[in-house]
């Protein structure tokens, strides 16, 4: 029984993580086309990634979009989570459903709807559509993670602060916010990673000059069969691993996933 369960664990982890090892090796290939095992090892395709102009532009856009949309989602989501958790709100159930609705709407629909029925009629730029779509998508995550942190924070200390004469705003900024700091950091990291890796929302909101990194990768691999996408995938995977390990160490990220 013990041997069997060890075998299960090893096989499942091999299935889940093995492909990363392979893509890292394929990205270090010295050959012209994608192949495994590669004919030799070199850094040429890793260097090639940094030389592709569109990858640099789309990486910058993804980075700015991830930070901007996550901050906006937190600024909107933290008060919403606090208001719905700590106050009796008439129609609170409906409000909660509205705020978490983006979770059940497939991303590709959001992208097309924003493009056709918001950006085109109002003549707004694609980047605004990306920002709106990503922010809406991230609000439910922000609300959920912050609610989870609030659930672990006793209401008594807030009541004590108010009884001792602090205003509600002062109580929130001096008592509540510092106590849910870890949850907010976790929500920021989760939100940023979700936005940065997002494909389906961004699909219809991309156009000439406005492309996020994952969409750019999809387009690039349609026309190229060289190992540069493998090298880029490996770089992104390594970057994610570093972020996750750092987050796990400092805020215990996996508690919030």
């Amino acid at each position: 029984m013990r041997k069997l369960s060890h075998a299960v664990i090893v096989l499942v982890l091999l299935f889940l993580l093995g492909p990363f090892v392979i893509i890292c090796i394929a990205g270090l290939s010295s050959g012209e086309t994608l192949a495994f095992p590669p004919p030799g090892i070199s850094w040429r395709w890793v260097e090639a990634v940094f030389a592709v102009e569109s990858f640099r532009a789309s990486f910058t856009l993804s980075l700015l979009l991830g930070v901007g949309a996550t901050l906006a989602a937190l600024i909107l989501g933290i008060p919403a989570a606090y208001g719905l958790d700590r106050y009796r709100v008439p129609g609170g159930g409906i409000l909660r459903n509205v705020v978490t609705a983006p979770i059940v709407v497939p991303g590709i629909i959001v992208g097309l709807a924003l493009l056709r029925h918001l950006l085109v009629p109002l003549r707004l730029p694609l980047t605004l559509g990306l920002f709106l779509g990503h922010t809406a998508l991230l609000i439910p995550y922000a609300v959920r993670v912050v609610s989870a942190s609030l659930a672990n924070l006793r209401v008594d200390i807030e009541e004590a602060a108010i009884l001792l004469g602090a205003s509600r705003a002062r109580t929130f900024f001096l008592i509540v916010l510092p106590n849910i700091r870890a949850g907010i950091v976790a929500a920021f990291i989760l939100g940023f990673v979700t936005s940065f890796n997002q494909v389906s929302v961004s699909l219809f909101l991309s156009g000439p000059g406005v492309t996020t990194l994952p969409i750019d990768m999809l387009f690039y691999m349609d026309f190229n069969y060289d190992p540069s996408v493998a090298a880029l995938s490996a770089l992104l995977a390594i970057l994610s691993i570093i972020v996750v390990l750092a987050a796990e160490r400092f805020v215990g990220l996996s508690r919030y996933v």
């Binding site: 994608l34 106050y87 509205v98 983006p102 497939p106 590709i108 219809f204 996933v257």
Partner: protein, 277 residues
């Protein structure tokens, strides 16, 4: 819980308005378009959509792959969760970290790895050839099998993680008690573990099934332009044919499947806890 109703409302309203106007309204307009046809308002567009054999094929393929991936991840998920539950606590915690890790990595990167593995010059074909098992490279890429493998790798952690927490809530002595009383492992699984961890299975099943139905990246990379699923069909209709009507019909189908699965499975989970009480 504080009583000042106005404050709570004022705090929750900005994000509710943001989502209602910037998100739900455009989506509602898009969905509404699917019910309007030259003859008036009705289901005509849906009937026309399903009359096309290609559309039907894509619809059934999406449903079939969704069910297959959910079933496979449930079987593997239980095996994995039970194996991890048998480990000492610290080791189990580290393994949970290894299961969360792939969820944080770009799905494009995760899926692209399978091109390297399953392609004509990939590992599988190189191995088959060097073992002398097959002269011609095996065609795995751009088939349903490739999409199945890709989806399973993408979504398996979403099944294992809820099952692990469900197993953690299982009372520690029930399984040894059943064992002492002579129940077989199969009977223990079916009569004790399965009913007591059903909520975890429901949560994981919803995530995996809806995730597979609404997948874009996996069929786009591993299915190519021939083996379509609903989302890749929708993208192709819009970009190749400017066919926004089919796109809104597919949107309604996707939303209905996603919302119905969520509601149905939530009801299943709730029905169980009511019966339990």
């Amino acid at each position: 819980m504080f009583d000042r109703k106005g404050i709570g409302m004022a705090l929750a309203l900005p994000s509710a308005l943001f989502i209602a106007l910037g998100f739900l309204l455009p989506v509602a307009i898009l969905l509404a378009a699917s019910f309007r046809n030259p003859a008036g308002i009705g289901l005509g567009n849906f009937i026309a959509f399903f009359t096309d054999p290609l559309n039907r094929e894509v619809f059934w393929r999406t449903l079939k792959l969704g069910l297959a991936v959910t079933a496979a991840s449930a079987v593997i998920g239980y095996a994995m969760a039970l194996a991890i539950a048998g480990l000492p606590r610290g080791a189990g915690g580290r393994l949970v970290g290894l299961l969360v890790l792939p969820l944080m990595i770009s799905p494009v990167a995760r899926t692209y790895a399978w091109i390297v593995i399953l392609g004509r010059t990939g590992i599988v074909n190189v191995a088959l050839k060097s073992l002398g098992l097959s002269e011609e490279p095996l065609r795995i890429l751009f088939t349903e099998t490739a999409i199945f493998i890709g989806l399973l790798q993408l979504f398996l952690p979403l099944m294992v993680l809820p099952l692990i927490s469900a197993l953690e809530n299982l009372p520690a002595d029930v399984v040894p008690a059943a064992r002492v009383l002579g129940a077989s492992w199969l009977r223990i699984f079916l009569a004790i573990i399965l009913p007591l961890t059903r909520e975890g299975l429901v949560v994981g099943g919803t995530l995996v099934f809806v995730g597979s139905l609404t997948a874009y990246i996996t069929p786009a990379i591993l299915g190519g332009s021939k083996v379509l699923m609903l989302e890749t069909l929708m993208y192709q209709r819009v970009t190749v044919a400017n066919d926004f009507l089919s796109a809104s019909v597919i949107s309604v189908i996707l939303i209905v499947m996603s919302v119905a699965t969520n509601a149905l499975l939530r009801k299943l989970a709730a029905g169980r806890s009511v019966a339990h009480a």
